[in-house]
């Protein structure tokens, strides 16, 4: 019997919206900010239930980050929501000085990350945000895999003290993590134990990795799938343990190869356990308009690409 399957598709941003509402019910210090994208971020329910704790800032993201940092002074737990592009690159210096360096308890909720944003094109499809956020000292970076995990992550970061970047997306994707181990910040999730290759994935690519695992199994390859939902701090122990067993690696993410999950794992392995590694990612190019499915295919982020990368990685083992 398959361990992971799905009966419905749902967007991860709805997981954020539902998680935020629940977190706000649990803790009166949870507040929300949004830069004119309340519907897109699924923050309406929170806004409706807690109008006095919701701050519409208009199209002014730099101010939103500063206001969020200020709200923490006196004990609020602000969730600042906008598209990933405007939540990172546009406001990098504000995040760096007022949030990360000042170690403020701000949660940056970044939706519509990656190329699955679709038709709006490259101006909105950020593929560099994980790298930007991962470089900042004090910053925790989380990329959940489906609706359920995004909700769990939202609840978890409301209870965690410190700056967090939470990255999620626009399209409806399989909801499959019902049986996954409990979400814990910084703890990698074993999805499927295997012996031939370690596949580390995050976000939308976790489901693609599960699909790839089934194809690989038909070819007699036993792949280990690990969901690295927390890019930073990286669960080094889980990565090293898996790689010690399998001897080769595939990383999969909807992000540039530069600066992303793959880069992070390559850095760890090149220092502590040099291992053949193949990356499924976007290689130094911008996105473009198209449907999410078309773009995932064109940019090589499909389960078939993970299968190919796994076979290649296995072939490089000594």
């Amino acid at each position: 019997m398959k361990k992971y399957t799905y009966t419905e598709k749902k967007d991860t941003r709805s997981g954020f919206g539902d998680g935020l509402l629940e977190a706000a019910k649990k803790n009166e210090n949870v507040v929300g900010l949004c830069a004119d994208l309340t519907g897109s971020l699924k923050m309406n329910a929170f806004q409706k239930e807690f109008p006095e704790r919701f701050f519409q800032v208009g199209i002014a993201e730099a101010n939103m980050i500063g206001v969020a940092a200020g709200l923490t002074i006196g004990g609020k737990i602000p969730f600042a929501g906008t598209f990933a592009n405007f939540a990172t690159g546009r406001v990098y210096d504000q995040i760096r000085q007022a949030v990360a360096y000042s170690d403020k308890n701000v949660k940056i909720a970044a939706s519509h990350a990656g190329i699955t944003l679709g038709e709006d094109g490259a101006t909105h499809q950020i593929l560099e945000d994980i790298g930007l956020m991962r470089m900042l000292p004090n910053m925790t970076v989380i990329v959940p895999c489906d609706y359920l995990q995004t909700k769990d992550a939202t609840l978890a970061i409301a209870e965690y003290k410190g700056p967090v970047y939470l990255r999620f997306g626009r399209p409806a994707v399989p909801v499959f993590s019902h049986n996954a181990p409990k979400f814990e910040i910084g703890k990698a999730q074993m999805i499927n134990e295997g012996t031939d290759v370690s596949i580390f994935a995050c976000g939308h690519l976790v489901w693609k990795a599960i699909e790839a695992e089934e194809i690989l199994a038909e070819k007699g390859i036993n792949a280990e799938i690990i969901n690295i939902h927390t890019i930073k701090p990286l669960d080094e122990k889980a990565v090293l343990q898996s790689v010690a067993k399998t001897g080769c690696v595939v990383t999969a993410e909807e992000h540039q190869a530069n600066g992303g999950l793959g880069d992070s794992i390559a850095q760890l392995l090149s220092c502590k356990m040099p291992t053949p590694l193949e990356m499924v990612a976007v290689f130094d190019r911008f996105g473009e308009s198209g449907t999410p499915d078309q773009l995932m295919k064109k940019y090589g982020l499909e389960s078939s690409n993970i299968v190919e990368a796994a076979i290649k990685a296995i072939g490089r083992k000594k």
């Binding site: 507040v31 006095e52 704790r53 701050f55 800032v57 208009g58 002014a60 730099a62 101010n63 939103m64 980050i65 500063g66 206001v67 969020a68 940092a69 200020g70 709200l71 923490t72 002074i73 006196g74 004990g75 609020k76 602000p78 210096d93 504000q94 760096r96 000085q97 007022a98 360096y101 000042s102 170690d103 403020k104």
Partner: protein
């Protein structure tokens, strides 16, 4: 009734501190720090409700002061120390390795009195808006103050925050512009004219006051007036005229001392303007 002579004495000592701190490491920003010495002294010794001996990051139940133009760190550190946040001896570590007194204010080393890093300009007013909103949510009736430079308000984020504060009726917030007319590259009116600053702030929905930031009497008259205007659905801003380098004759009337330290001879000359009123650190 405030003791103006006492406050002026403190400001005199603060000016000595600023010059000695910046001279000792041959780096820092004496110009605007000297210009704001009277104002920051008045804030910490007369205007603010605050708890120097038991600093809390949250600042609940007290007023909060933000320094958005973080390069004025020398004057802020001196006043914080002189008002009891930390030992004045620590002023000798300014800008040195392993110091809590970073070149620009920071929270990382846990220096009492600092609640957010500043230095990269244009961010403080947004932070002040957030802190003011938290005070409202917490039903804390104390106020939030934010000092900005006039050059600094060339940054677009200031105007985002200005729009936000008025639009959200943040009326427990007082902004102060250090209106000295100078910035690194020259007079503000040449680098990027601010034109009619009063009209700009009024058009953004703020109540505007003006004061002479180098006259203790003007500060002590205007700040209570600003406080009394709070709670009327509008934020308040004060255009505070100061002179960069105020008190040191050869540093006044020019932008040249924005970010340059005095040498030994210049220090001696500058110090002759100020009596050691409270004792050097």
């Amino acid at each position: 009734m405030a003791d103006i002579a006492k406050l002026n004495n403190i400001a005199t000592q603060v000016r000595r501190d600023i010059l000695r701190m910046i001279h000792a490491v041959q780096s820092g920003h004496p110009g605007a720090a000297l210009g704001c010495a009277d104002f920051i002294t008045a804030m910490y010794f007369e205007i603010l409700k605050h708890n120097p001996k038991s600093f809390s990051m949250d600042g609940n139940g007290e007023d909060i002061f933000f320094l958005s133009n973080g390069h004025l760190s020398a004057v802020w550190y001196s006043v914080l120390a002189r008002s009891g946040y930390f030992d004045v001896k620590e002023l000798s570590t300014f800008r040195k390795i392993n110091s809590r007194l970073q070149g620009h204010p920071a929270t990382e080393e846990g220096l009492e009195g600092i609640r957010i890093a500043s230095g990269s300009l244009g961010q403080g007013l947004s932070v002040a808006c957030g802190a003011a909103l938290t005070k409202k949510l917490n039903k804390d009736n104390n106020l939030v103050y934010c000092l900005m430079g006039d050059g600094e308000i060339q940054e677009g984020q200031i105007w985002e925050a200005a729009m936000f504060a008025a639009g959200r009726k943040i009326d427990n917030l007082i902004g102060i512009i250090d209106y000295n007319g100078q910035q690194i590259d020259g007079p503000v009116d040449e680098v990027m004219p601010l034109l009619d600053l009063r009209a700009k702030w009024e058009a953004f929905g703020w109540l505007v006051l003006e004061m002479d930031g180098n006259k203790m009497e003007s500060i002590l008259e205007t700040m209570p007036k600003a406080k009394s205007l709070c709670g009327n659905n509008k934020p308040v801003v004060i255009l505070m005229k100061t002179e960069m380098g105020y008190g040191v004759d050869f540093m006044m009337g020019t932008h040249k001392w924005h970010g340059s330290p005095p040498n030994d001879e210049q220090l001696a000359k500058a110090m002759s303007n100020f009596a050691e009123t409270l004792g050097d650190y």
